[in-house]
Symmetry: C2
Subunit: 258 residues, 2 copies
């Protein structure tokens, strides 16, 4: 019932939006009722699903200002098993306000999300880069986090920062928060450092905290933002899609064991 | 005297830190007294210059809390023409506090930076991804912005967001702020969409707002974070380094014309 994951990373460009879209699409292919909620003001998830800002009026930004209920935000996608809630326009949620009422916002969003968990099997939050109140809000609603990690040396060096933030949210805000796994992504066989980064992650982290599935660097993922369809929907048999379908299966198998 | 650039982008992973480090190193190779100031709490610039957190005690975070003067923060690097000011530890600058005294912080940082402009020819700010007070602070100190743009479809779609923020900062905070240029980066000949993105940028933006120099996707840039030397210092004759040296020359030529 509404198992909720927050896709988080303080590092920019690590594949949070791409993972949210394709993992969401993969769960939909497996016929799980899936909801993607975009908490990143950039709105990359909407682009990836083919929505233009003129296709919807409200988003999470309006929910956080108490203007609209969460059920009014649900949008259908090309799959009957996937629905979407856009971020909306955060420009009028002043930066100071966004942070100032953090406590109030946290409980508002969590109450709203709890109210719709019965509608879905899986909920995925896309979040902005950095350590900010929107990422904390998503983690406050989530059962666990998925942490995409580019196979790049700099990404590895800054990984401890997101792990510290997750621990802090767990101890101060949401004691039930777990780590579903670190997801190695943009694995590029051309570069020697890719193998070094992967080996360091396997060596330094407990096995159960790192997904066995590794996402390769593939052109399909980038092209998907031109077409407005996640790679998994565009071509389900491509190596790009198979990687995220394998990830979905890995998570489903783990859920079944719990 | 202390021409100041803020390297900004709301998109994560667009190459802000890599550009700050290698453009800074390129100016140093051209014997311009250069200062890099890190305003990103992730501290990627420090890693790229080989600094470990134990190598320095204070950073910008301490300057913003009035604990230390800016001249006490200056660190030497491997080049006599390049100095560095680390971000420091932002964990104790509470999120709310960071935003709440935004007006006070803006003037504090700007006054401090103005006080050391005579020490350098060029100042570069590295900034975090997203629209946040630290990026605004950097733009408040800067003469102009450099906007790295990955040759990726999603990056192109979200480019209008940073252009809107720059316009907003210019109209509300720093009327002198200009756009030095959009820098196309991670240009990868393997992918067809790279050419599409580049053509769209050239077609839709005025020529003087887009750098002629394009940065290729090269392994050297990523490996530099293992060694702690910017690619330009590691191997000045490589295609990776030559691209940033060309960028530095393009900016120097423009400055000479002004
Ligand atoms: N496995 C992959 N192979 C190739 N390209 C990828 C892959 N995953 C993501 N990308 C591309 O890399 C870029 C960064 O990915 P994405 O935008 O999903 O990261 P993000 O963490 O959401 O970024 P931000 O920090 O800005 O929110 C995008 O242009 C995307 O198309
Ligand atoms: N031209 C390039 N070729 C290949 N890799 C690159 C290039 N520029 C940057 N990179 C790599 O891409 C990743 C993102 O670059 P970088 O960290 O500089 O971006 P950023 O905008 O500073 O990210 P953030 O939003 O997290 O601050 C890094 O792992 C870096 O090593
Ligand atoms: Mg994203
Ligand atoms: Mg950076």
């Amino acid at each position: 019932m509404g198992k909720t994951f927050a896709i988080v990373s303080q590092k920019g460009g690590s594949g949070k939006t791409t993972t949210t879209l394709n993992l969401g699409a993969a769960f939909a292919v497996r016929k799980l009722r899936t909801l993607i909620i975009d908490l990143d003001p950039q709105g990359g998830s909407a682009f990836g699903l083919g929505f233009k800002p003129s296709d919807y009026e409200y988003g999470v930004a309006d929910l956080l200002q108490d203007k609209v209920g969460i059920r009014d935000l649900l949008l259908s996608t090309e799959s009957p098993y996937l629905r979407f809630i856009p971020a909306g326009n955060f420009n009028n949620v002043a930066e100071i306000d966004r942070f100032h009422n953090l406590g109030k916002r946290l409980s508002l969003l969590r109450r709203a999300v709890m109210g719709i968990r019965d509608l879905c099997d899986i909920i995925l939050f896309d979040t902005p880069p950095g350590e900010n109140s929107l990422s904390v809000s998503a983690m406050n609603c989530a059962d666990s986090v998925v942490i995409p990690l580019q196979c790049e040396p700099l990404a590895l060096r800054t990984l401890p920062q997101i792990l510290r933030l997750v621990r802090e949210v767990k101890s101060k805000v949401n004691p039930a928060l777990g780590i579903e796994g670190v997801l190695l992504t943009m694995y590029d066989v051309r570069y020697g450092f890719t193998e070094q980064v992967t080996e360091q992650v396997w060596r330094n982290f407990p096995r159960e905290l790192v997904f066995e599935t590794i996402i390769p660097r593939r052109e399909d993922f980038s092209k998907a933002f031109i077409q407005g369809h996640p790679a998994v929907f565009e071509n389900p048999l491509s190596p790009a899609s198979l990687a995220y379908l394998q990830l979905a299966d890995e998570i489903i198998a783990k859920l079944a064991r719990e």
